[in-house]
Symmetry: C2
Subunit: 261 residues, 2 copies
């Protein structure tokens, strides 16, 4: 299959999707990956669905021109808004982050799932719809946790402030008796340690980065064996990206290019 040797494109509005990128790179260490972060127009979480769809289609078109064989939409907001449009228009497989997270939640829950995400994702009710489609008896409580994004990006994930914010965001979900919590924004795995401390052992955490990587692994037929190349494309502010991405991935960022969509 020629497709399997092509690089996998990983798209996000900014840096959050690097948590998904990291898990895919772990699962497929010999596969070349191209990450595109639309840093000129980040964040998507507060934008309208129409605007997010338009931006996402532009990004997908750029990645197609670079020869990707599969597209991973590593942004919950873009997945929630644009996945149907992408699947309709793109000649390659498209994997979003919502469905893998929903599947993992359904597999683990005893009946009550909490979802924390951006304002845009919560408004779309994408997780509730995806989970209910799999099992209509499950109760889903979605809640926006917008400050988590800046806490992750500014390097405050493991601070007392993050802990206090997490307590405030998660208290209503814990009071509602959730047994499973979906991290429905790709930034949130950066705060996973803090979130785990707050929810305790009784709540199972679904990290959409991990579950999406598992889906990508399943969708890629044959494995590559050669050397993998990781390319990073951003639409603005390379140096900020280099710093945050270095933090997220715990390594130096090579092959970083500024592109225009």
């Amino acid at each position: 299959m020629e497709r399997d040797a092509s690089p996998i494109g990983v798209f996000d509005s900014g840096v959050g999707g690097l948590t998904v990128f990291r898990e895919i790179a772990r699962a497929l260490p010999h596969h070349s990956l191209i990450y595109l972060g639309d840093s000129a127009r980040v964040p998507y979480g507060t934008k309208s669905a129409e605007t997010v769809t338009r931006y996402t289609l532009q990004a997908a078109s750029h990645l197609l021109d670079r020869g990707i064989g599969m597209l991973v939409v590593a942004c919950n907001t873009a997945t929630a808004a644009a996945l149907p449009a992408l699947r309709e228009r793109l000649p390659i497989p498209v994997i979003g982050v919502v469905e893998p997270g929903a599947r993992a939640a359904v597999a683990r829950t005893r009946g009550r799932v909490g979802v924390i995400a951006t304002e845009g994702t919560v408004r779309s009710k994408a997780y509730t719809k995806a989970i209910r489609l799999l099992d209509p008896t499950i109760e889903v409580i979605e809640s926006a946790a917008p400050l988590f994004v800046s806490l992750a990006e500014e390097g405050w994930a493991n601070t007392h402030v993050a802990r206090e914010v997490a307590e405030i965001y998660l208290e209503p979900l814990l009071d509602a008796g959730i047994d499973t919590l979906v991290l429905g924004c790709t930034h949130y795995p950066i705060l996973r340690g803090t979130i785990e401390q707050v929810v305790g052992e009784g709540v199972s955490i679904v990290d959409s980065a991990e579950t999406t990587a598992a889906c990508v692994l399943a969708a890629v037929g044959t494995r590559s064996t050669g050397a993998a190349k990781h390319t990073f494309l951003v639409t603005d502010a390379e140096e900020r990206f280099r710093r945050i991405a270095g933090d997220f991935l715990s390594r130096e960022i090579e092959h970083l290019e500024l592109v225009s969509l």
Copy 2:
């Protein structure tokens, strides 16, 4: 002077400039104002100077087409990056937020000024340059306080979390012995109460929204006497803007239009 009857355009990357808008509306209650928030591309604080300049010129061009007689750039990042380009190209007066803040700081300080702002504004050293131009003996210490933006936008300005974040951001400035603190991002006046509690009475606070409104008042020759119309233009997510702007201005937002730049 025909120009004085024309509406004043107030431009910002999003909602932060509403603190400037509010002060101008207080100072000139009979003057029509048009606010443009580039909510589709917010925030500017993490973008490169070239990108910010391009976006700001597009916004200015749109406001010119609407017949404004003066442009207020109510965004520190856009002022720091784009003011010279705007002044060169626009046939009307252009007032930024940096110079009024720098003037007020120089008037008040006993020699050591702290400036808190976005990453982009701090990187530009716009405040240090503007203050040193007026008085080269003044010591200026600039520091980024990026979390203040999301705390203000998400309605967390007067919380214990905001207080703790303010203590962490301001401690190095207080240790350095500043006697004056410039709120160098238009979001920050929303957190003024919290910031005042942290710095105490010994530090004088310069609110660039107030000082910019004073400059606008001085630049507008004759006063209008008729009814003022306040128009709000955004490039995306009207409902989010309506909610946050209602909070910032403590009133209902009428005349809200979605525009494309």
